[in-house]
């Protein structure tokens, strides 16, 4: 298991790049998320009778749920949106688009958001909010429960979401057929396969993936079109004799070369648009490829 970037490192990075107002906002928002998490933990303990927590939970004491009586806010379906979730949504305005991903990740971590909350935030979220949810999954959801979010993101044509969906969570949990389709979708939509966590490990000796890649190359050739360069990279990785992460003709940091881990998890988990220098790759805050399509073929139109 590879290491995810330390929360403290993400925060200290933001402290160096955010202005004073944004830092103050992030402090307060993080506190609200933390308070919410504590309140939920307390409530859960009360419900199960394990702990005799104080009658006045920290949630309403801190105003973490506005206008809701104590105990009425459920994690899966709150009657009123918890304040920290509003902070999650407004992070772009407060921290700027380059840092919103990281700020949102920190809020999700502080709130200990579970699958139910993450699903709600995803379903109600814009593409940027959804991207943050997808990136948080490796740390927050230990099992495959959140796979429906990955599958939803992979159905979109939004290359930012497709790229974010293919982080370490998908590398661990996505079923082989779905994973192959996702890799092919990257080639179709111009998402650099560098965005695919665990690419070398999962591609190795995958004869079905090799067959699909070959068919796609044939189809492009028959149409008189250029075959994407990434296709041959992935095809080389399917060679059973390819060393993990070392079989690619043009290896990059996410194929096992990254010092942070063989699956490129660090780079796929942190906020790509955060403006972190690529040279920081050895550290835990290495940036994700943002996967703006380099050469979109536009094939992925569902008409």
């Amino acid at each position: 298991m590879t290491e995810l970037p330390a929360v403290a490192d993400l925060r200290s990075h933001l402290d160096t790049v955010l202005g004073g107002a944004a830092r103050a906002w992030l402090d307060q928002a993080t506190d609200e998320a933390t308070t919410h998490a504590s309140a939920e933990a307390t409530e859960a303990a009360e419900t199960t009778g394990v702990s005799g927590a104080e009658a006045t939970g920290p949630a309403e004491a801190a105003g973490a749920v506005a206008g809701v009586p104590p105990g009425s806010a459920r994690p899966s379906a709150p009657a009123t949106t918890p304040v920290w979730e509003l902070r999650f949504a407004e992070a772009g305005r407060r921290c700027g688009p380059d840092h919103a991903d990281t700020a949102r990740l920190l809020l999700l971590y502080a709130a200990h958001a579970g699958t139910g909350t993450l699903t709600r935030l995803y379903e109600q979220g814009t593409a940027t909010e959804r991207r943050a949810v997808l990136r948080s999954l490796p740390r927050l959801v230990p099992g495959p429960d959140a796979l429906p979010l990955i599958e939803d993101a992979l159905r979109t044509n939004d290359t930012r979401l497709v790229a974010a969906a293919l982080g370490p969570y998908a590398a661990t949990h996505l079923a082989p057929h779905d994973w192959r389709q996702a890799v092919l979708k990257c080639l179709f939509t111009g998402v650099p396969v560098d965005a695919v966590a665990g690419l070398a490990r999962r591609a190795r000796a995958d004869a079905e993936l090799a067959r699909m890649l070959g068919d796609y190359a044939d189809e492009r050739t028959a149409a008189g079109r250029k075959v994407p360069g990434d296709l041959y990279r992935v095809l080389a990785l399917t060679d059973p004799s390819a060393a993990n992460g070392r079989g690619a003709p043009a290896p990059t940091g996410t194929d096992g070369q990254a010092p942070s881990g063989p699956d490129g998890q660090a780079s796929a988990d942190t906020g790509g648009p955060d403006g972190l220098a690529p040279t920081s790759q050895a550290g835990p805050t290495a940036p994700a490829p943002i996967a703006a399509p380099s050469t979109s073929t536009g094939e992925e139109q569902e008409s």
């Binding site: 379903e123 599958e151 939803d152 992979l154 159905r155 979109t156 044509n157 057929h177 779905d178 389709q181 092919l184 979708k185 179709f188 699909m212 068919d215 796609y216 044939d218 189809e219 028959a222 149409a223 008189g224 073929t297 536009g298 094939e299 992925e300 139109q301 569902e302 008409s303």
Partner: protein, 284 residues
């Protein structure tokens, strides 16, 4: 040149497009129900969409002298979303309507078990409602998708002769033709087919049961591609009658299998841009 675009998503197009299409010779379109780019989250939004395909959009088309029919279905991509699959239960009340000339677009997107179920279910609905089916082939893993599609059709009660396989290309046309299906080709500015490759396929595989469409939608696409294929055919030595077969008689014959094609447009906008309804009679 009279043109029937058998696959175009007019909901995503402007009135300028309708004008330009009419000017180019388009007199009839079929708009298949499909994915809207933004995922839907409940059957209710499908209901509004289907109602629009049967209400507002044909009204809009008629104002520009174009006959508008539609096909109704749960598309393969959203068939994977459990929030959307209850749409399948709503389809029967739409499939009896006059303007619905096929079940579609159905087929495969990612070739999942949920898509298997939706495809088989909707092929049965087509058979039950005496409608043909518009089946698109997936963007990814297309040849494997075509083979799996044909297998599912063979297992269904719908004869292959009542199925239009769409988005075909050089690698898939032969197997679809050998199976006895109608053959659809989408001509796009950058992807799918282009005019010259389309002409080459017509030279190689003939004109029989071939339909050409623009599949124009909200993505980069061109609602005049049908006309451009017609021009390219003439330039390549095909006759006016050949063009008419591909761009008019073949789509009329396929969607005519529904028994519901009505190609008389009643203009609701009295302007001088229309040449009259008689030009639209194509023999439904």
């Amino acid at each position: 040149m009279r043109i029937f675009d058998p696959h175009i998503h007019m909901t995503s197009r402007t009135t300028d497009d309708y004008e330009a299409m009419y000017e180019a010779g388009v007199r009839a379109v079929v708009e298949p129900a499909f994915w809207l780019g933004q995922p839907r989250t409940s059957p209710a939004s499908f209901v509004d969409y289907f109602d629009s395909l049967l209400g507002w959009e044909p009204f809009r088309a008629a104002q520009y002298g174009i006959a508008h029919h539609c096909t109704i279905a749960l598309n393969p991509k959203e068939a994977n979303d459990p929030r959307c699959t209850p749409v399948l239960d709503l389809l029967p009340r739409y499939l009896v309507k006059d303007n619905v000339v096929a079940v579609g677009e159905i087929g495969y997107d990612s070739m999942t078990p949920a898509e298997d179920t939706a495809l088989a279910t909707q092929l049965q609905l087509a058979a039950d409602h005496e409608l043909p089916a518009l089946v698109h082939t997936p963007h990814r893993d297309k040849l494997a998708g075509l083979r799996r599609t044909l297998d599912v059709v063979r297992e269904s009660e719908l004869p292959l002769e009542r199925v239009l396989i769409d988005h075909l290309n050089e690698t898939t046309v032969k197997e679809a033709k050998d199976a006895g299906c109608w053959l659809g080709f989408s001509v796009y500015p950058d992807t799918k087919m282009d005019e010259d490759r389309m002409v080459a396929i017509l030279h190689t595989h003939g004109l029989e049961k071939v339909l050409v469409n623009s599949a124009a939608d909200w993505g980069k696409s061109d609602p005049l591609k049908t006309r451009k294929v017609g021009d390219a055919m003439l330039d390549a030595g095909f006759s006016d009658d050949d063009v008419d077969q591909v761009l008019w008689r073949n789509p009329v014959a396929f969607y005519g299998l529904s028994g519901r094609l009505a190609l008389d447009v009643t203009d609701t906008d009295v302007t001088d841009t229309h040449e009259g309804n008689s030009i639209l009679r194509g023999g439904a």
